[in-house]
Amino acid sequence: MATATLTKPEHVRLTEEGKPVTFLEAIREALWEELERDPAVFLMGEDIGVYGGAFKVTEGMLERFGALRVIDTPISEIGFTGAAAGAAHMGMRPVVEMQFIDFISCAYDMITNYVATSRYRGSGACPMVIRGPSGGFVRGGPFHSQNPEMAFFHTPGLNIVYPSTARDAKGLLKAAIRGDDPVLFFEHKWLYRRPQLREVLPAEDYVVPLGRARTHREGKDLTIVTYAAMVHKSQEAAEILEKEDGLDVEIIDLRTLLPLDEDAIVESVKRTNRLLVVHEDTRTGGIAGEIAMRVNEKAFAWLDAPVLRVAAADAPIPYSPPLEDYFLPQTEDIVKAVRYLASY
């Protein structure tokens, strides 16, 4: 289509020019390239047009792709999520933005009852992506820091993606947009502009398939299964543990929570015989439970120690720095947990 032939603006040409991109820029490039690739792809959300989104992820897209493909919606999470489902039925590929993922809760019924069950009910596929900034460490308080992944984790029909690197974010978002099932795509806002995450991405078009975990760090003494921001906290912990304790920690980045890459977890646990699950979400009902269950079902005999977890406290997310710092799992917690498990 015509738009594809136009030259890209600077801010989405970084990879093309071999320059490193941030986590946010990788997501922006994925959206831009998908809009160029497939005329069925379009965006909806609040303030994603003229303003380019609260975090500027969709900057410049309205100007390039027009108001029929980059739609500024009323404040109506139920409305635009449902509209996306209707469009998806008709062969479109809607990508909707929750200004903050916390507000996905307003569309909970539409997502779990309508979208997730559509194929099963015989109402056709519902290929759509719901994305938005999630997570803490930014003093956002109870409603701008949430990790609502587990609210959807037990809803068959959904896919849940929660990447930790720029490369995965771009490749997984493209895969999500091209796939035939609904995908919830969580973007940890603490990662958006972290300089440490800047990397040069493949110049060519690539996708990272959903449902496959990634070994973020190889190790033989103990396995940490984690995702999103906690991948980087775990990495910090692993380096401390290597230096101070000579421990060789393996880190599995789930990347996709649903479907869960059980094989990757089990394979690693069978080698290390020790498992720590680390998640930023609150403890009770967090994904650590499901993982512990799967490992019990499939690798119990290989466990030399209990499956343990490091997670946020069982409370809403507080705003004030001392409270948020205490509430959230920190690198030091991971270090302590690994030491405990290693000496079990």
């Binding site: 029929l68 409305g79 509209a83 489902a85 209707g86 998806a88 009852n113 009910r121 499939k298």
Partner: protein, 359 residues
């Protein structure tokens, strides 16, 4: 096919540009709707229906007449609608076959929902219907999205969605209508003011004088019509559909009618006034009124109508027999179509021998 006797010579021209054939087609649909529901009620009493049964007695006219205003195709190029449990008439009109409906109520494996979903919660994009789900109001945003796609692609197609008086109280209704209004989408929202939401009377549902009064709050066109006058409903629906097709956006069409049966078969309607039901039944039945109009205006004859009735009865007999012969689904089909990939895992206890490592 019903045999055609020539119409009386002094027949006035049918309104709204309808042809005599169309008038009879509408008659056939409304008759088919009522007869099918009566059949289903019999099946229900015989215990051959799985789950509940909902009647639209007294509302068949507005269902048929509103859907009749749509461009009906079976190749995926026509208009689209999404019905409520009480819009069997709309479904038959847009192209659902009676046997498909009976299979649904019998939970058969070859029903459109393959036994996974009930009622007329069924979808066929070719014929242009999308099944509702139980949470009320959700199909308003969804059909707004369908209409959005029509607009994005520059197709001159129209989406119609039904909503009960009760369901206008839902947030989904509000967000969906508002979204469609702002985007000026080709959407017709039919508000079925049948005066009851289960046992809840309209005065406990809204303080508004009329549902059509909501239109101004969304900046859309609104019209209120006698829902038991099929020709009036058709006319209003046609105007709304034409506006939508012409790019003039959303219409809220309030059809005034009355739910003569209980919410479902299990509801004894003790909260309703029998005299009121009777008034609607005797003085204001949509089929009686339609037949009277057809005959008085000389658009058809009693013979012609009787022939149609007989055709309907024959079709329904066949439909029930056919649905009866349909198989129930295979148990393992419970695991298919959850997502694009293959079926989901079998419970490990169903494996032989049971094996949790294979679950």
């Amino acid at each position: 096919m019903a045999k055609r006797t020539k119409a009386a010579p002094r027949a006035a021209a049918p309104p709204h540009g309808l042809t005599r054939e169309q008038l009879l087609e509408m008659y056939r649909f409304v008759r088919l709707t009522r007869a099918l529901e009566e059949k289903l009620e019999t099946l229900f009493k015989q215990g051959r229906v799985v789950g509940g049964l909902f009647r639209s007695l007294g509302q068949e006219g507005e269902s048929v007449a509103s859907a009749f205003a749509l461009r009906r195709r079976d190749d995926g190029t026509g208009d689209m609608l999404s019905p409520l449990i009480r819009n069997l008439g709309s479904m038959l009109t847009i192209g659902t076959k009676p046997v498909e409906v009976v299979r649904q109520y019998m939970a058969k494996g070859d029903s459109l929902a393959r036994g996974k979903e009930l009622n007329i919660h069924i979808t066929d994009f070719q014929r242009g219907f999308i099944g509702q789900i139980s949470p009320l109001g959700d199909l308003i945003p969804v059909m707004a999205g369908v209409a959005l796609t029509f607009k994005q692609r520059g197709e001159d197609r129209v989406a119609m969605v039904y909503i009960g008086d009760g369901a206008t109280s839902t947030g989904a209704f509000h967000e969906g209508v508002n979204f469609a209004a702002v985007q000026k989408l080709p959407l017709v929202v039919v508000v079925e003011a049948n005066q009851w939401a289960y046992s809840t009377p309209t005065r406990l549902q809204t303080a508004a004088r009329a549902f059509v009064d909501k239109a101004a709050g969304y900046g859309i066109a609104g019209e209120q019509v006698d829902g038991n006058d099929m020709l009036a409903v058709y006319g209003a629906a046609k105007r709304a559909v034409d506006r939508a097709r012409a790019g003039e956006g959303v219409t809220l069409l309030e059809v005034l009618t009355y739910r003569r049966k209980g919410h479902a078969q299990h509801d004894p309607q003790t909260y309703m006034d029998p005299a009121e039901i009777d008034r609607w039944a005797t003085g204001n039945d949509p089929i009686d009124r339609y037949v009277a109009a057809l005959l008085e205006n000389g658009w058809t004859s009693a013979d012609e109508l009787r022939a149609i009735d007989e055709g309907v009865d024959a079709e329904l007999e066949a439909a029930v027999d056919e649905a009866d012969r349909s198989p129930l689904p295979e148990p393992e089909e419970a695991l298919t179509d959850v997502h694009a990939g293959g079926p989901v895992n079998r419970p490990w206890t169903r494996l032989d021998p049971p094996d949790p490592t294979q679950a």
